[in-house]
Symmetry: C2
Subunit: 404 residues, 2 copies
């Protein structure tokens, strides 16, 4: 299955962006078959050396977030370079004229200037906050309050998450915004400027999940460590020292836990003693300490292999805690045995595995993940293809240092 | 701006789903103007009482994730109820025939059966793992390894995140998948079954961010507490006890930190002493302890108000740590002063604020957030509208207990 057969084949997007959210949005479209052309300044943009890096300073981060894209490198400090960038953004093509950026929309990225060159341009500008101020995943996380209820119940200090969750959500929302605007243009012919602020994504989610209304009602979320809120779920350690996460959120999940651990009689006794119907998820949370002890006593006496066998047989909702090393070494789901992964050769990195898009479209099948480009790998090709630039003109620009 | 003017107005989606990811995907489309009809069983589905709840057991979670949708309640245990559900999923309409579920695709949700009734049906089925097994945010998080590098560097134990990050990312990806498949159908006429597994989203992200390749190279990510990896960034406490997060990832961010804290000379001395170019982000991480002490000495002597003034003047990337109570009480961004928020009356909850979609489409403007429906609020309306059901027939079904 080649990229030209992807579900978005034919769509062309130009991206001028850095870090996680905007590049991830572009990569999401690229991994569904869109032609995503990333424009960088010569030598690479703000995220070209973002850690983690290899011994020779190739960024695993940059390679990871720019898979399946084409790369154009231009001297954006020169008027000629900026002119080329504007021409690429607004180049003709029925299914083109989509532009994604998280840089301030001024200079060559100014929407009005670009729209003057292509009236139906769709531009999506990602910002830190809605006023154009600076904000990143870590600052949004501090502001919206999540750090204050993450971690150990005894802790007084905020715990930052390490997974850049706000960036990741926003990255998908970037793809949503571009697809929705493209649909609108297909139906009406109308382009537009779509704006999105990382901070607003954080605030919206805090509202959607009920955290804001809880606090408005004077019952803000407390720290519950590794326990799931509002039902039964926590971590346990097996007889042979393996930590597992066990979840009894739905009635069926709860029933299979009781059955697999042979603990129903003791649970019934607890229900009788407390007068609580433990088939109600909230009541399981109310007596989580007691339920946890009942389960822990059993789990701590059984081996991981034994528990794995019975949990999987009964369809319990559970998993093991792994380090990333264990994940990479031992887990077939994190290998090309999972059709989402492919073995690739990534320039600057070598032989590795790479994930394609998790969405599996029956009409087209999966597109294998493709490496990130070398910086500027497609400059000549793209200038020729989109702008019809002759080789001699490219040579002139190259000699002048506008392209490389 | 009414819903019928949204960027997706005209699109109709039927949803049969529970918990976070799938309902969030549906709500994302609804908040852009799509008509999203949620089908529940009488009395409510698996997530209808999910915590947090009000005193009278109305779920703030359910209300938060089902805003702007219509609700149909059917007795799905009866053949007649299931027949109505199938008829709604496959009801005619050029811009309809989109179905979103995270239930096992069998019985009335079987794709082949549904497609037999509407050949161009688009169905998106969200699963726990790709084999159809059970997995939720907490189990995916344990498996992919994030818990092992979250929290305090001294800790030996995994730290679960509380924000259901995998669900949130997957929810947006659900919307991406439906929009991409709808585009494909518009271009080719072809429907399809799109499958997505929560666990695969987790694995893909671990790959995209470089965590997997780090571990493959024998340098797995360590715990760094509240420090940002690979550059300068951590939490500090001001003279008056306010905790803040400060980030110096880009050169500009770093320069404004040095300037605002008047610490450039000491930083230069550190650079000279260590022989490291601290304009390189990775070198700032290498001497993060020393840089943190230089900054902490200054921040701990200055008031929050003083720092806020200079940080904002120079455009520093920073924010305060807040509890959700403080966010709700003190932060105008979390109020209708931010056009993403509206004051609404939510049945079962009362007067509250609600967030619309963070995406701001210039072609259509913002749609104010609308409340979640009461369970079954639109059953009669939807059956009449989509299936042309006469009032007498609805009455018969109601008396029989198939609808309510």
């Amino acid at each position: 299955m080649s990229k030209s057969n992807g579900i978005l084949s034919g769509m062309r997007v130009v991206e001028a962006a850095a870090f996680v959210a905007a590049p991830l949005g572009g990569m999401t479209l690229a991994q569904m078959g869109a032609d995503v052309i990333r424009i960088d300044t010569l030598g690479g943009g703000l995220d070209y050396r973002r850690w983690p890096v290899t011994e020779d300073n190739t960024s695993l981060f940059w390679c990871g977030l720019n898979k399946s894209k084409r790369s154009v490198a231009l001297d954006l400090s020169s008027p000629e370079g900026r002119e080329l960038a504007m021409a690429l953004v607004t180049a003709p093509g029925e299914d083109a004229g989509l532009f994604l950026t998280n840089f301030p929309p001024r200079g060559w990225l100014d929407h009005d200037k670009l729209r003057a060159r292509r009236a139906d341009l769709i531009q999506l500008t990602l910002m830190g906050d809605r006023h154009g101020g600076s904000a990143v995943d870590y600052t949004v996380n501090a502001r919206v309050g999540v750090t204050m209820f993450t971690g150990d119940p005894g802790s007084e200090e905020p715990v930052n998450h390490v997974l850049p969750a706000w960036d990741l959500v926003t990255g998908q929302m970037v793809a949503v915004g571009l697809l929705a605007a493209e649909r609108h243009r297909r139906l009406t012919g109308e382009g537009q400027h779509v704006k999105l602020a990382l901070q607003d994504v954080g605030l919206a989610v805090m509202n959607h999940l009920g955290f804001i209304e809880e606090a408005r009602r004077g019952q803000p979320r407390q720290r519950h460590g590794n326990e799931l809120f509002g039902a039964f779920g926590r971590d346990f350690v097996t007889a042979d020292g393996q930590r597992i996460m066990l979840v009894g959120l739905t009635h069926k999940q709860w029933r299979t836990i009781c059955e697999s651990l042979d603990m129903q009689a003791e649970v019934d006794a607890l229900a009788a003693r407390t007068g609580l119907d433990l088939n109600q998820e909230g009541n399981r949370f109310r007596v989580r300490k007691e339920l946890g002890e009942i389960a822990a006593a059993r789990i701590s006496r059984r081996s991981f292999a034994d528990l794995q066998q019975v949990f999987d047989r009964l369809g319990v909702c559970w998993d093991r805690y792994q380090t990333v090393e264990q994940l990479v070494r031992d887990d077939p789901e994190c290998s090309p045995a999972n059709p989402m992964f492919s073995a690739i050769t990534q320039p600057g990195v070598g032989e590795t595995i790479a994930a394609g898009i998790p969405l599996d479209f029956s009409a087209r099948g999966r597109i294998p993940a493709q490496p990130a480009p070398r910086l500027g790998e497609h400059t000549e090709q793209v200038l020729q293809e989109l702008l019809g630039m002759p080789a001699a003109e490219y040579g002139r620009l190259h000699d002048k240092g506008v392209v490389r």
